[in-house]
């Protein structure tokens, strides 16, 4: 029997290899260096900001100290101080130099995200971009300043850090790896959704102990905004969906957002617009009913897609790589016992940008959400990835056999109970028959009838339980036989929705299509303004004409002319239907009632004829 590995040995044995996209500027670092460059603040509901600890005086111990503030207050760190114009100009001038120093190659987006989605989603994107002017956001030069500060920190000593925790439960061992990035520059660096100071990313490796005591990896799960539960998990032996290198899991980290992916590629992520999702659901439901009622061909994309904003997460894996056997290696930190900075500080780890939809606000620490509530990955690390209902492989047979034995025992009990109760029920039935015809025994007869009914219901419930028990036993037997034969489930049997990178065909839209996608909505708005200024009386026709032209050109680029004609014709048919319904409402009602009446008469007459 091999000697048990310590937690740190386990963590090191399965530490991931993270592959970044070319152009990535921020990598996992130590929290103490970051915190030492921050100041600690509180934002109060009345809009005032209160400085608690100034820059240069903050460290991890200071951060963990308990602090009081009123309800609604938000504690946050400030990593980058706002820049004045001269500093911003200096940053812009030095940016190229910084990249050269960091040996960062220029990021090339390739096929733009807007070319991958429809015109409606593009219109929503334009509106979303405009909202950035109104809602709170991380100032423009902050990403550049953060890159410079991070670069200075790296120069003092290059260290790539992860923070790990180990959990044990029901024969499972969960290794939780946290990566802290000083900045998320997805928006400013890679045309993504947001920028924010600080970024925490997490992955889990699930092991079980083999009969000889040696640990064996079975599952991995990477945190993701778009997926949850079972969909987060991949089986260790699922080579098509998950890669390992020398026994270490491979993570493809997305550029700027640092989101973790199992496979390299470019992922279209869609961000729901708050408050509009209800509207989208109503529309989707109406479309569903229309389709079901008239047996129409289902549409490819739900309406909710239209009111989501598309963004691309570039997880190409062609940049720097950190991990065992790579050019850069990890410095592990085991969080055992849990330090105060992780457990006590519930505030944000970077700037509170006052963004009401939170995208630009910094995240909280590894244990908490932005509102201070605990993350489910912290208090339920197995259930977080849907593993709380699955026993480790060696325990599965034992669990199955125990379940089978318990079920068999219960079936035996049920057989006896049904026999006894059935006999009693027969006696009651016989007695009830004997009481009939005796008026002086009416009350007794009624009581006995009620008792008989209760007993009959109980007997029926027991028989149902026995029948269900038989079916469950059959299922258990089949499962045990399969396991004994060495059959395993499909590694993807648990997945409902699978993240898929864009295919080569999806990325093969031409340059003109990309140019069109990037400029069409802007041209439409300019055309609208020109019409408004120069030909206001033709505004409606002009807008319809421009929109039709836009939609048609779009469909030509996407080879979707047939679908476009179908949609337009369908829209015309719906308008015509509504007009006819409006004009002939009462006639239609009367006609429908007449048809229903004739149908009923015909059905009843057919019944009479036998």
């Amino acid at each position: 029997m091999s000697s048990p590995m310590t937690d740190l040995e386990l963590v090191r044995r399965y530490e991931p290899i993270v592959r970044y996209t070319e152009g990535e500027q921020f990598f996992p670092c130590a929290v103490e260096r970051y915190v030492e460059q921050c100041s600690l603040w509180a934002h109060h509901p009345n809009g005032s900001e209160q400085l608690f600890v100034a820059e240069g005086k903050l460290n991890l111990e200071e951060l963990a100290k308990p602090r009081q503030a009123g309800f609604g207050a938000v504690f946050y760190l400030k990593f980058i101080e706002p820049l004045n114009l001269a500093q911003y100009a200096s940053f812009l001038l030095n940016r190229r130099g910084v990249k050269a120093l960091q040996q960062i190659k220029k990021f090339r987006a390739g096929l733009g995200r807007l070319a991958r989605v429809g015109y409606a989603a593009r219109m929503m994107d334009a509106l979303f971009s405009l909202t950035l002017l109104l809602r709170g956001r991380v100032p423009g030069a902050t990403a550049a300043a953060a890159a410079l500060t991070y670069h200075r920190t790296l120069k003092k000593g290059e260290r790539y850090v992860y923070y790990a925790r180990v959990f044990r439960e029901h024969g499972w061992i969960a290794l939780q790896y946290w990566f802290f990035y000083p900045f998320n520059n997805w928006r400013s660096g890679f045309n993504g959704v947001n920028d924010h100071e600080a970024d925490w990313e997490m992955v889990m490796v699930y092991l079980y102990e083999k009969p000889d005591g040696a640990p064996a990896p079975r599952w991995v799960a990477y945190a993701s905004h778009d997926y949850q539960g079972d969909d987060l998990r991949r089986r260790w032996d699922d080579r098509a969906e998950f890669e390992t290198l020398d026994g270490h899991p491979l993570i493809y980290a997305a550029a700027g957002s640092h989101a973790s992916y199992f496979r390299r590629g470019e992922y279209l992520t869609e961000i729901e617009i708050p408050y509009l999702d209800q509207f989208a659901r109503v529309l989707d439901r109406a479309r569903e009913l229309w389709g079901r009622f008239l047996r129409q061909t289902p549409s490819d994309a739900p309406t909710s897609n239209v009111i989501r904003i598309p963004f691309v997460d570039y997880a190409r894996g062609d940049g720097m790589s950190i991990g065992p056997g790579q050019s850069k290696t990890w410095t592990p930190v085991l969080l055992d016992p849990l330090p105060g900075w992780a457990s006590q500080y519930r505030g944000l780890w970077g700037l509170y940008a006052r963004d009401p939809i939170s995208g630009e606000n910094a995240p909280a620490g590894p244990l908490y959400h932005r509102d201070g509530a605990m993350r489910s990955s912290a208090y339920n690390p197995f259930g977080w990835a849907g593993l709380d209902k699955i026993p480790p492989p060696p325990a599965e047979m034992q669990t199955l056999e125990a379940s089978r034995a318990a079920l068999r025992a219960r079936q035996t009990e049920l057989d006896a109970e049904i026999q006894t109760r059935g006999a009693a029920l027969l006696n009651m039935g016989v007695e009830l028959s004997a009481l009939k015809g005796n008026p002086h025994l009416t009350k007794l007869s009624q009581t006995l009838a009620a008792q008989t009914k209760t007993r009959a219901d109980e007997s029926k419930a027991l028989r149902r339980e026995r029948a269900e028990g038989r079916a469950r036993l059959d299922a258990l037997e089949t499962r045990i036989a399969r396991l004994n034969a060495g059959e395993d489930d499909s590694p993807r049997a648990h997945i409902h929705r699978l993240a898929q990178p864009a295919s080569a065909a999806e990325l093969s839209i031409g340059r003109w299509a990309e140019f069109w996608a990037a400029t069409s909505i802007g041209f439409l708005l300019v055309g609208f303004v020109l019409l408004l200024v120069s030909a206001r009386e033709q505004l409606l026709i002009g807008v319809i004409g421009m929109t039709t032209a836009l939609v048609f050109v779009e469909s030509v680029f996407r080879r979707q002319v047939a679908e476009l004609i179908n949609r337009i014709t369908m829209a015309l048919a719906i308008v015509a239907t509504l007009l006819i319904l409006y004009d002939f409402f009462w006639q239609i009602i009367v006609g429908a009632v007449l048809v229903a009446g004739l149908f009923l008469i015909s059905e009843n007459l057919r019944e009479l004829r036998g």
């Binding site: 778009d226 490819d300 994309a301 929705r497 898929q500 014709t569 369908m570 015509a576 006819i580």
Partner: protein
């Protein structure tokens, strides 16, 4: 050896809705050809008189009748082409029929808002559009297989 009964195989694969639409197109074709012939006949009667004696409005009427007759006859022939294409399940026929109905509905709506609604044509066009989008119709023309749709951002497994 060629299939002695090619139509039998086609008949098996043709949904009943397609036969109904094809039938409607044949009916539409006959009506349009009849209307077209009527218009051309009217114009012919006018032209057979002394055209030099026509007033400007009479000339315009004659031109209008001729143009309408040709247009209706043309549409009638197009309807026949659509009916034949649909009946033999040609892939182009589905889009062709849909385009024709889009055109008919556009004209119908323009007429409606112009104060001269053509309800019968609109109702026939609506029925055809709905039937062309039936679950079993599109696959018959190899336009879209049922269950092709995917959830956003991923694929079903």
């Amino acid at each position: 050896m060629p299939d002695p009964k090619p139509s039998a195989a086609l008949k098996l694969a043709r949904p009943s809705a397609v036969s109904v639409i094809a039938g409607l197109y044949v009916l539409q074709c006959l009506i349009l050809l009849a209307v077209g012939a009527f218009e051309i006949l009217n114009a012919g009667i006018l032209w057979s008189e002394n055209p030099r004696a026509f007033s400007a409005s009479e000339k315009m009427q004659a031109y209008e009748n001729t143009a309408l007759g040709i247009a209706f006859a043309g549409l009638g022939l197009l309807s026949l082409v659509a009916a034949l294409g649909l009946f033999t399940l040609r892939r182009w026929a589905w889009l062709f029929a849909l385009t024709l109905e889009g055109f008919t509905l556009t004209v119908g709506l323009v007429d409606y808002f112009g104060g001269a609604p053509a309800y019968i044509e609109m109702i026939i066009a609506i029925l055809i559009v709905v039937m062309l989008n039936q679950e079993d119709v599109q696959p018959a023309f190899r336009i879209q297989e049922p269950g092709d749709s995917l959830p956003p951002g991923g694929k079903h497994v």
